[in-house]
């Protein structure tokens, strides 16, 4: 199991490179080559990802879809550099940031304090921080809530603070781990519009993990379907529906139905094995 590894990524505290670092051949911001991840050791080893190959183009919005146990979070950890693959290669050209599903804001800091800490940890001088924080909170429509603590904000507002904090890192690759999973439908709809707007305006590359098929179709340029235990790419669906899209529209619902069938097929296979 000792195939060569190549994990190329710039350090977080270095300025964003204008040219991709050497060793990145594909030119894609995210490139996985037969990346595998096994947890545990020989006897009770659990494969989480099995030879996943995936390229994400610059400025692309890719949604990763899968049932439980497809290793979605493992995959994001690999791309974010929080974990290393057991085999294969994960190449990332650019600065990544990861946004979580639930309460990942620091509860002792205000909205503005949370965003500012991201800047502070990148050693942005104090004089520049204040203006940048105000600007980022304006981008996510939170002016007037700068001094609120996370527990004083609604779920949707907390996720927008997380978004501002992620943008504060100056990353061009945004990794999102079911970021809207815990929100009510109304708020989620608005945040879909919001993330789409930010993606367009800031030229981000987004890898978005979800288990909600309609959400994936609503947002993605491409939907990638992962199998479960171990995670493996089983199908890809380009989404040609023109934007702006609505989650209730027929084209979105139709494609979502097709993908759901495929997803169920995948889940059924596990039923037969058991």
């Amino acid at each position: 199991m000792t195939r060569p590894q190549a994990v190329e990524r710039p350090r977080v505290d270095e300025p964003a490179p204008d040219v991709p670092p050497p060793g990145v051949a594909s030119g894609a911001p995210i490139s996985l080559r037969a990346a595998s991840k096994v947890f545990g050791h020989a006897g009770d080893a659990v494969p989480a990802l099995d030879a996943v190959s995936l390229d994400v183009r610059s400025g692309e919005f890719v949604c990763l879809l899968g049932a439980s146990g497809c290793g979605k979070s493992t995959l994001l950890n690999l791309v974010a550099g929080l974990d290393a693959p057991t085999a294969g290669a994960v190449e990332v050209a650019g600065r990544t940031t990861l946004m979580f599903q639930e309460a990942a804001l620091f509860p002792w800091l205000t909205a503005q304090g949370n965003v500012e800490l991201a800047l502070k940890l990148q050693r942005v001088p104090k004089a520049k921080r204040r203006a940048r924080v105000a600007e980022l909170l304006r981008v996510v429509h939170l002016e007037g809530f700068e001094r609120k603590l996370p527990h004083e904000l609604s779920g949707g507002m907390r996720q927008r603070v997380q978004l501002a904090r992620a943008l504060a890192q100056g990353a061009d690759i945004l990794l999102m781990d079911e970021p809207f999973g815990a929100l009510d439908a109304m708020t989620r709809d608005l945040l879909h519009d919001e993330i789409e707007r930010l993606w367009r305006e800031q030229g981000l590359t987004i890898l978005f993990v979800t288990h909600n098929v309609r959400e994936a179709v609503r947002l993605g340029d491409r939907v990638v379907l992962l199998s479960s235990r171990p995670g493996r790419v089983v199908a890809e669906f380009p989404v040609d529906i023109p934007r702006p899209r609505r989650i209730e529209s027929h084209p979105v619902a139709d494609l979502a139905a097709t993908i759901t069938d495929e997803l169920r097929e995948e889940v059924r296979r596990h039923g037969e094995e058991a």
């Binding site: 940890l121 429509h141 004083e152 507002m157």
Partner: protein
């Protein structure tokens, strides 16, 4: 990098702005709490009632004639003694408090360093983790014979025992605080690029703060107890302290004097606990969103 939005998307963005802010305002309207005066009264009256009850029972016991009044004086006699000895007792309390704060400050430094190291280092933890808990349960009086042999009958012996009384609780508070940090906060810290000292300073320490302050509170209680035990055992000639005053009054068979010193000790204990640690704890719990607003 930013693409210029066309007019159509500009209008949609404006609409989105309005929708988001509408939802935000609907979701963050909180009812205001009761007024300050009524909160103070609500906190005060049960305490006043309890004090009144204690005084009544005490007076009844004295009236019952269970012990002669020169052995068990009533509230009135103790009050007179309290007023009469007030300035002496305050001098004594000042010495005792200074010792307490000195010892506690040193224990704070030691306990924090040891706690942080043990929490973050697996080998250290298995080596001395249970030892710290063991020290916490050891009665501090048990240290005095050794402390007196090491430092003779003097400030050093008292200081030594006060530090040993408080430091384990402080260390344990920090350790359990760090152990109970939600993993997602640590992950978020790593994503933001917090490493080593900066991770400790900006993520781990603030996340562990509620439990750390609980440890400080307990540490102070242990320090205060060890201190009074120390002052009773280690009598330094020519120096007023609360422990020394207790002993002096006992030797004079002045029960009212003994009880009035005890009341000073009790009041200081309550005040430090409530004003210093209680306030800090309440503020932190409120800031961290650990207070149930429906119940409070």
């Amino acid at each position: 990098m930013a693409k210029k939005p066309d007019n159509g998307s500009g209008a949609r963005t404006q609409l989105l702005d309005r929708e988001l802010s509408g939802l935000d305002h609907l979701e963050t309207a909180l009812p205001s709490g009761p007024s300050r005066a009524s909160r103070i009264w609500a906190a005060a009256w049960p305490k006043l009632l309890a004090i009144a009850l204690v005084l009544i029972v005490w007076q009844l016991v004295v009236w019952s004639g269970w012990k002669p009044e020169y052995v068990l004086p009533g509230p009135r006699a103790v009050w007179d003694s309290f007023v009469e000895n007030f300035s002496t007792n305050m001098d004594a309390a000042w010495t005792t408090l200074q010792r307490g704060f000195k010892g506690f400050a040193f224990a704070l430094v030691i306990g924090t360093i040891v706690g942080a190291l043990v929490a973050r280092n697996r080998v250290l933890r298995s080596a001395i983790g249970s030892l710290i808990t063991g020290l916490q349960t050891m009665p501090s009086v048990a240290w005095f014979p050794l402390a007196i042999l090491l430092f003779q009958l003097g400030e050093g012996a008292i200081f030594f025992v006060v530090v040993l009384g408080a430091a384990p609780s402080i260390a344990n508070g920090l350790i359990s605080g760090i152990d109970h940090i939600q993993p997602i906060l640590l992950r978020a810290g790593r994503v933001l690029g917090a490493k080593r000292w900066r991770a400790f300073r900006y993520v781990i320490l603030p996340a562990a703060l509620p439990s750390f302050v609980a440890g400080l509170k307990q540490g102070w209680a242990f320090a205060w107890r060890s201190l009074l035990a120390g002052e009773l055992i280690v009598l330094i000639p020519g120096q007023f302290s609360l422990g020394q005053q207790l002993d002096a009054n006992r030797q004079l068979a002045d029960s009212a004097g003994v009880i009035s010193v005890m009341i000073v000790i009790l009041i200081i204990g309550i005040l430090v606990d409530a004003l210093l640690f209680g306030t800090a704890e309440r503020k932190i719990r409120r800031r961290y969103g650990l207070v149930d607003t429906a119940a409070a």
